[in-house]
């Protein structure tokens, strides 16, 4: 009996490079990739943020022909990549403070714009990214980020979202999901972990600024991530990319589960993957087989208090309801064939 093989990876831009023509393969699959965040850094084993940063920055380097400067917020990415006197960065890179990466990016872009005009060019060939963790983005850096968006400065801001302040020992940020245990949302009392009804959805807030491009991605869908970075770099003005980057240490997950968790976050509907232009959603990544949130939550110790003898099925149900709401809101389910 013959069976039609469906190349899901091709259609969905997952990691299945070998099924593609060489020119369509991922930047990461090429020996010519820049290794912008090169080996030797001090990230934990299985760190999603290290992976996400390498994917994103290499893709931006390819898109700009290596003409790229990065501003970096304080956080795990900064600390693990530049232990004095070493650096893992192979592109010009500036760390200033925790809450100002977007503004520093704006400053770099302004300097480049003037230099270009002095050289008789319309705009600079050198491009700018600013990057930080979710805390540095959604909380302390929010003012600078909103200012950068509002002025439509020529910066791609990348948020590596691991849903908490990891560098300082896993505290709650406004990107921490309900029910999750952190050092400041302990699993005690009637509402263990992070409370429901708090937190902010930064991609939607970014869209409200009507900037040219907003997108979300995960480290599980490499080619999708790279395609979004590449597209972002083809545009000018303020752009925002939020990448879900599981943190084995902070989430209490196995290092080998980083990619699986990122994929499950999308396939449960908890982390909608989409693109928006000028404030309107233009594309969503559909979920082929919706996963129950339990499959995602059970792999992480930060949700361990929801399961077992004294478990809280009611909270799991509320998290499931959140996922279902996302699925409806963003139209994430593929129409039944």
């Amino acid at each position: 009996m013959t069976q039609n093989i469906k190349f899901y990876q091709t259609g969905t831009f997952t990691v299945g490079n070998r099924l593609l023509d060489p020119e369509h393969r991922a930047v990461q699959a090429s020996i010519q990739r820049d290794n912008s965040l090169t080996s030797g850094h001090r990230a934990c084993q299985g760190c999603g943020e290290a992976l996400g940063a390498r994917y994103a920055v290499d893709a931006a380097m390819r898109a700009t022909d290596g003409q790229l400067i990065a501003a970096n917020a304080t956080g795990c990415l900064e600390v693990f990549s530049t232990p004095y006197p070493e650096t893992s960065w192979k592109l010009p890179w500036l760390h200033s403070l925790f809450g100002n990466a977007a503004a520093v990016g704006s400053g770099i872009a302004a300097a480049l714009a003037v230099k270009a005009r002095k050289a008789g060019l319309e705009r600079s060939a050198v491009r700018v990214i600013a990057q930080g963790g979710d805390g540095g983005t959604t909380d302390i850096g929010f003012g600078c980020l909103s200012g950068m968006f509002e002025r439509n400065d020529d910066v791609l801001y990348i948020c590596y979202d691991n849903e908490g302040y990891m560098n300082t020992g896993v505290q709650r940020s406004s990107a921490t999901p309900p029910g999750a245990r952190t050092a400041t949302t302990v699993p005690l009392g009637p509402n263990p972990g992070e409370e429901f009804g708090r937190g902010k959805n930064l991609p939607l807030i970014a869209m409200a600024h009507e900037i040219p491009y907003v997108a979300t991605a995960t480290v599980a869908d490499l080619r999708d991530l790279e395609a979004k970075v590449e597209h972002a770099m083809s545009l000018h003005g303020a752009r925002y990319l939020q990448i879900l980057v599981p943190c084995p240490l902070g989430w209490g997950a196995a290092s080998c589960d980083t990619i699986r968790l990122a994929r499950l976050a999308r396939e449960t509907g908890l982390f909608p993957v989409f693109e928006a232009k000028g404030g309107e959603i233009t594309a969503v990544t559909k979920i082929r087989h919706q996963q129950p949130v339990e499959n995602y939550l059970r792999l992480q110790k930060r949700f361990a208090h929801l399961f077992g003898d004294k478990g809280r099925p009611d909270i799991v149900a509320r998290i499931q309801a959140m996922a279902d709401k996302n699925i409806r809101r963003f139209g994430l389910l593929e129409a039944a064939e």
């Binding site: 400067i69 970096n72 010009p92 500036l94 200033s96 704006s106 770099i108 230099k115 005009r117 002025r151």
Partner: protein
């Protein structure tokens, strides 16, 4: 060219002559007219190429400045008071990274109680931040110091704050001699960064530094400020050659030659003091004045040398370290340590209180009669102070202090105040 213009506009024009490439602005009185002036020049096309960014906070202003300076652009911003405090984290960062940003500080009091008028609390709050701090006596000097500041900052690869008294200078219409573009170009070479974000030669700037090298990095900042003690007078001398007038330098003595008594001050009050000194000299007193123009680096040797012959010195300052007394006085006393001269600290002009010649005369009468206290608050209204202290002693819920004092003197804040 001689012009009769507002101090803020004079500074804006001087900054424009320095060919800044990136300017970031956030409004706060009394600094606003400076950046408004520059914004108009950029928008009107007379200052080009230059990027003028209207940012969302002072923290962003200094952060944008950090980015643009690190990317190799000559960068300028201005602030005052609450604005300086709002950007403090980035202020330290700019100096820690060694970025030659120039910033005007239109000196203004710090609240609470909120107060838009002049004193030096804002400068002094950043005394240890690693920026060079220069003080202007007049609008002409403010203008001239900005031109010197870019030169100094870029040579040393350190940020420079040019401090000018809010309202007293920023809003005063005075005659200034505005240099030509050719003069400024002859004095100020294009910016050649020591470190720059450049894809052709990628560097990482702002790495984490642990105990193994942190002290050395800090020491180098100190070593450079020490070198600036030499460069500041040299640059002032070169400036005098090109522009034909003196401005800047570390200190300026006035009638100190045979003085037994010296007043030490910074900023615009020096002008008032000169007239007082002249009057007392005319009456036969051996009295002189020392203006400190470089507050950081603090010119210990120059102060000591200038005051070597005096028996009494009075540090008159518009700043105050609550729980201790003078701020500038500490440094002057350090400069004078081991010398026999008696030192006095006079806190004056906080929150814009006028420092009148009459008050200064009374204070100096007290010095001459040997009855000035080591720490004196010029023209303090003891009546309302004592009434409030009595109120607090007699009842628990004595209420908000500032409002009580205002009620006591039967006066509301000045109506034209726009915080």
């Amino acid at each position: 060219m001689i012009r009769q213009i507002e101090g803020s506009l004079a500074v804006a024009e001087a900054v424009a002559l320095c060919r800044p490439e990136v300017i970031c602005a956030y409004p706060i009185s009394p600094q606003t007219h400076i950046v408004e002036g520059l914004g108009a020049m950029v928008k009107g096309g007379t200052l080009t190429p230059c990027e003028f960014l209207n940012v969302e906070s002072e923290f962003a202003a200094m952060s944008v400045a950090i980015g643009s300076s690190a990317a190799g652009a000559r960068t300028y911003t201005a602030t005052a008071s609450q604005g300086l405090l709002f950007m403090v984290e980035a202020v330290y960062n700019a100096s820690g990274l060694g970025l030659p940003i120039v910033m005007t500080l239109a000196n203004r009091a710090i609240g609470a109680p909120i107060n838009i008028w002049n004193d030096h609390s804002d400068s002094m709050s950043q005394r240890d931040c690693g920026w060079i701090q220069l003080f202007a006596e007049s609008n002409q000097e403010a203008l001239d110091l900005h031109i010197q500041a870019f030169r100094l900052a870029e040579e040393m690869s350190m940020p420079v704050m040019v401090c000018m008294d809010g309202f007293i200078l920023t809003h005063a219409y005075e005659q200034v001699d505005m240099p030509t573009q050719a003069q400024v170009d002859a004095f100020l070479p294009p910016y050649e960064p020591r470190q720059v974000l450049d894809p052709a030669d990628p560097v990482s700037i702002g790495a984490m530094v642990g105990p193994e090298a942190f002290m050395e990095v800090r020491y180098i900042a100190h070593a450079k400020q020490t070198m600036a003690l030499d460069r500041i007078p040299q640059i002032a001398a070169e400036f005098a050659q090109v522009f034909g007038r003196e401005a800047g330098g570390l200190v300026r003595g006035y009638r100190l030659e045979d003085a037994d008594t010296a007043v030490v001050a910074l900023g615009s009050v020096v002008g008032t003091l000169e007239e007082v000194i002249d009057a007392r000299r005319a009456a036969g007193e051996k009295i002189g004045l020392l203006s400190i123009r470089s507050y950081r680096p603090f010119p210990l040797a120059a102060v000591r040398a200038a005051l070597a012959g005096v028996k009494h010195f009075v540090v008159l300052e518009k700043s105050f370290s609550v729980g201790l007394g003078g701020v500038v006085a500490l440094d002057v006393r350090k400069a004078m340590s081991g010398m026999a001269a008696v030192g006095h600290t006079v806190i004056a002009g906080l929150g814009g209180r006028p420092i009148t010649q009459a008050s200064l005369q009374r204070m100096l009468d007290d010095v001459m009669a040997d009855r000035l206290q080591p720490l004196t608050f010029l023209d303090l209204n003891w009546e309302i102070v004592n009434r409030q202290l009595a109120r607090e002693a007699s009842m628990r819920r004595s209420g908000p202090i500032a409002e009580n004092l205002l009620r006591d003197i039967g006066q509301k804040p000045a109506p034209e105040a726009k915080p």
